[in-house]
C-alpha cells in the first residue's frame, strides 16, 4: 500500500541547529491492517507519520503509494492525494470551534465541490455509525472528549479515504474510551481501510486489534513485529 525507501528528514537543514529526525527508514505498510508506530518521545514518530500522510516531504528518500512514486509531486497534487486518500485524526482532535458537529465533519469535502446534500447525507450515515446522531447540531466545544474524538473520526472518513492516519489518538482518552476507539479502528480495518497510528500507550501497542508494530528509536526503525496470529 505505502512504501518508504531510505527516508531521511532534516529540520533546519544547513543551519547551525540542523537536526536529523529520521535517519534512513525503509518500511512497507500493508493494506487493510492496523499499524502502530511506537517509540520513546522524540524518536520521530510524528515526523514519520507526517511523511506517510503526505503532510510533509522527506528530505531524502522515496514515498510510494500503491506503487507510484509520490515524493516528487508538486504541492497541488500532494494536496489532492492527501484529500482523496488520507483521513487524519489529531491528538488535540483539531475540530473547528463554533461549528456544529456535522459542519466539522463535512469540512474536508468542501474543496472537492461535492454537493452539500451529498456531504450531509454521508456525514449523517457516519454519525449514525458512531452512535452520535443525537449530537449532530451541537457545537463541538460542548461535546465530551470521546464524542469529539468520534466526530474527528467521522471527519477523517468523509472523503472515504483508503488510509486513516492518527497521531496519539488515545492520549486524551481514558482506558474505556481508548478501548472503544480501538474497536472502531478494528472495524474500519476489517472494512478494508488501512490504519496507521502512533502511540506510546501500552494499552494500544499491546492491544489485540493491532496487526503490526513498528518500533522507532533516534530516528531509526529498530524492529517490526506482526502481533496478530490470525492473518487471513
Amino acid at each position: 500500500m505505502l512504501e518508504l525507501a531510505n527516508i531521511r528528514k532534516a529540520f533546519n537543514q544547513g543551519q547551525h541547529n540542523e537536526y536529523w529526525a529520521l535517519k534512513g527508514i525503509d518500511l512497507e505498510i500493508p493494506p487493510a491492517r492496523v499499524n502502530v508506530l511506537k517509540g520513546p518521545s522524540g524518536s520521530g514518530k510524528t515526523t514519520l507519520l507526517t511523511i506517510l500522510g503526505c503532510l510533509a516531504r522527506p528530505t531524502e528518500g522515496r514515498v510510494r503509494l500503491k506503487g507510484e512514486d509520490i515524493s516528487g509531486l508538486p504541492e497541488r497534487f500532494l494536496t489532492e492525494i492527501r484529500r482523496s486518500t488520507f483521513g487524519f485524526i489529531f491528538q488535540q482532535f483539531n475540530l473547528v470551534r463554533g461549528l456544529s458537529a456535522i459542519e466539522n465533519i463535512i469540512l474536508p469535502g468542501y474543496p472537492t465541490g461535492t454537493p452539500r446534500a451529498r456531504l450531509v447525507e454521508r456525514a449523517e450515515a457516519l454519525l449514525a455509525d458512531m452512535q452520535l446522531s443525537h449530537r449532530r447540531d451541537a457545537k463541538v466545544e460542548w461535546l465530551s472528549g470521546g464524542e469529539q474524538q468520534r466526530v474527528a473520526i467521522c471527519r477523517a472518513l468523509i472523503n472515504d479515504p483508503e488510509i486513516l492516519v492518527a497521531d496519539e489518538p488515545t492520549a486524551n482518552l481514558d482506558s474505556k474510551l481508548s478501548a472503544e476507539f480501538l474497536a472502531i479502528l478494528r472495524r474500519l480495518a476489517e472494512a478494508g481501510r488501512t490504519v496507521i497510528l502512533t502511540s506510546h500507550d501500552p494499552l494500544v501497542v499491546e492491544s489485540e486489534v493491532v496487526d503490526r508494530v513498528y518500533s522507532l528509536r533516534d530516528g531509526q526503525l529498530i524492529e517490526v513485529v506482526d502481533t496478530r496470529r490470525a492473518w487471513p
Binding site: T46, L49, T50, L55, A56, E75, R76, T79, R82, R83, F86, F88, F90, Q91, Q92, N94, L95, V96, R97, G98, L99, E103, L107, P108, G109, Y110, P111, T112, G113, T114, P115, R116, R155, N159, D167
Partner: protein, 378 residues
C-alpha cells in the same frame, strides 16, 4: 463549472459561519463600514445632484451682468450709463436691475430685496420667498414691518408667497415695486444696482464683454459662463471642510480595518492549519478569505449607498445640511432631483470594496502557505 460553483458556495458557508461565530466583531465592523460608505456617498450624491441642478437652473441667467466699480468697490449705475451700453454692437437687450440686501435684526438673517421686471407689484405690497414664510410666519395678507436705514418703519402687506418648489433660487427673496424699493433704501432716482444684458449672437458674448470693458473701463462684466463655472465648481474647494473632517474618520477606519483584517488571531491561524491538514489547498483558504472580505465590503457598500440615497433624496440631506449651510439663518429646504453619475457610483464601489478585500487577503497569504504538518505540533 457546477463543481466550481458548489465549491464557492461551500467556501461561503464556511466564511458565513465563521463571521457568525464572531458575531459582535463582524457586526460592529459592518456597521462602522456601512456608516463610512453612507457619509461618503451622501456627500458625493448631494454635491453631484446640487451641481447638476445649479447648472440646469442657472442656464437662464442673464448672459452678462454688468457691475460698476469705483475704487475697486461695487457702486451704483448712474443715469446715462445704460444708454452708453446701447451703443456697443451686438447687445440685444439691456435692463437695469434693482436689488439689495436687507438685514433683519429680529431673525439675524439677510434677505434679498429686489424689484421684479416681469410683474407689477402694487405699492405697499410685497411677494416673499418661502424661507420668510417659514421663519417669520408670513402668509398671504399678513403685514410685516421693515426698518429702513433712515430709521423709519415701513409696513408691507404680503400679496403672494413664491413657490416652494423653487426654494433653491427664491427662498430669501422679497419682491416689491420700484417706488417702494427706492423709497425704502433712499435709492437715488435713475440709479440702478447693476445691469443685465443679452447678446444677439451667443458666440459673441466674450467679445461683447471685452468691448464693454473697453468702452466703460470702470465696469466689471460677469458672463453667464462664469456664473455657471462658479456653480460647477461648487464644493470642490479643498474638497470641502466636511471631507477634510471625514478624512480623519477614513484614516481611523483604515487603521481599524487593517488591524482587524491584517492581524490574524491565533484562533484563525489554528483554523487555517486545520483546514490545510484536512486537505484544503492554499488557494481554497485564500478564496475563502476573499469571500469574507468581498462579502463584508460589498454589503457595506450596498447598504451604505442605499442609506445615503434615501438620506439625500428623501430626507433632504438632513444630517449634514447644517454643516454645508454654515452660519446662514435662512436656508432653503429643497428636494434635489436625483441625478446620479454611473462613474461616481463605480468609483465609490471600487474605493469601498477593493481596499478592504485586499487587506483581508494580504495576511492570509503567509498563513495559508504554512506547511500543513505544523498542525500536528500544536
Amino acid at each position: 463549472m457546477n463543481r466550481w460553483i458548489e465549491k464557492q458556495r461551500h467556501l461561503i458557508d464556511f466564511t458565513a459561519s465563521s463571521l457568525a461565530r464572531r458575531k459582535g466583531k463582524s457586526l460592529g465592523l459592518l456597521v462602522v463600514y456601512t456608516l463610512l460608505v453612507f457619509v461618503l456617498a451622501s456627500v458625493s450624491l448631494y454635491t453631484h445632484a446640487l451641481r447638476n441642478e445649479a447648472t440646469r437652473v442657472l442656464a437662464g441667467t442673464p448672459e452678462v451682468v454688468l457691475q460698476r466699480l469705483i475704487a475697486g468697490r461695487h457702486d451704483l449705475i448712474p443715469p446715462g450709463y445704460i444708454e452708453k451700453i446701447g451703443r456697443v454692437r451686438g447687445v440685444q437687450k439691456i435692463e437695469g436691475r434693482l436689488w439689495g440686501y436687507y438685514y433683519d435684526s429680529v431673525l439675524k438673517a439677510n434677505y434679498t430685496f429686489m424689484v421684479p421686471s416681469d410683474r407689477r407689484i402694487a405699492e405697499g405690497e410685497i411677494v416673499v420667498g418661502p424661507a420668510l414664510e417659514r421663519s417669520r410666519g408670513l402668509a398671504e395678507g399678513n403685514g410685516i414691518s421693515f426698518r429702513a436705514y433712515s430709521g423709519e418703519l415701513h409696513t408691507f402687506i404680503v400679496s403672494e408667497v413664491l413657490a416652494h418648489e423653487s426654494e433653491l433660487v427664491n427662498a430669501d427673496l422679497v419682491l416689491m415695486s420700484e417706488a417702494d424699493f427706492r423709497r425704502f433704501f433712499a435709492y437715488p432716482d435713475g440709479h440702478y444696482t447693476d445691469i443685465a444684458l443679452w447678446v444677439a449672437n451667443p458666440q459673441e458674448v466674450r467679445n461683447v464683454g471685452l468691448k464693454l470693458i473697453n468702452a466703460l473701463p470702470d465696469s466689471r462684466p460677469i458672463l453667464r459662463e462664469e456664473v455657471l463655472r462658479t456653480y460647477a465648481s461648487i464644493f470642490d474647494w479643498r474638497e470641502g471642510m466636511m471631507l477634510a473632517l471625514l478624512s480623519a474618520a477614513i484614516l481611523a477606519f483604515g487603521i481599524f480595518a487593517w488591524e482587524k483584517a491584517a492581524g490574524l488571531s491565533a484562533e484563525e491561524k489554528r483554523e487555517i492549519g486545520i483546514l490545510k491538514a484536512i486537505g484544503w489547498e492554499t488557494g481554497d483558504v485564500i478564496a475563502m478569505k476573499f469571500w469574507e472580505g468581498f462579502l463584508v465590503s460589498l454589503l457595506a457598500f450596498l447598504l451604505g449607498y442605499v442609506a445615503a440615497y434615501v438620506h439625500v433624496f428623501h430626507f433632504e440631506f438632513a444630517l449634514f445640511a447644517p454643516v454645508l449651510q454654515g452660519w446662514a439663518v435662512l436656508y432653503p429646504s429643497f428636494a434635489l432631483t436625483p441625478k446620479i453619475d454611473g462613474l461616481q457610483v463605480a468609483t465609490l464601489f471600487v474605493f469601498s470594496v477593493l481596499p478592504y478585500t485586499a487587506a483581508t487577503l494580504v495576511p492570509i497569504w503567509r498563513a495559508a502557505t504554512t506547511d500543513p504538518d505544523t498542525v500536528m505540533r500544536s
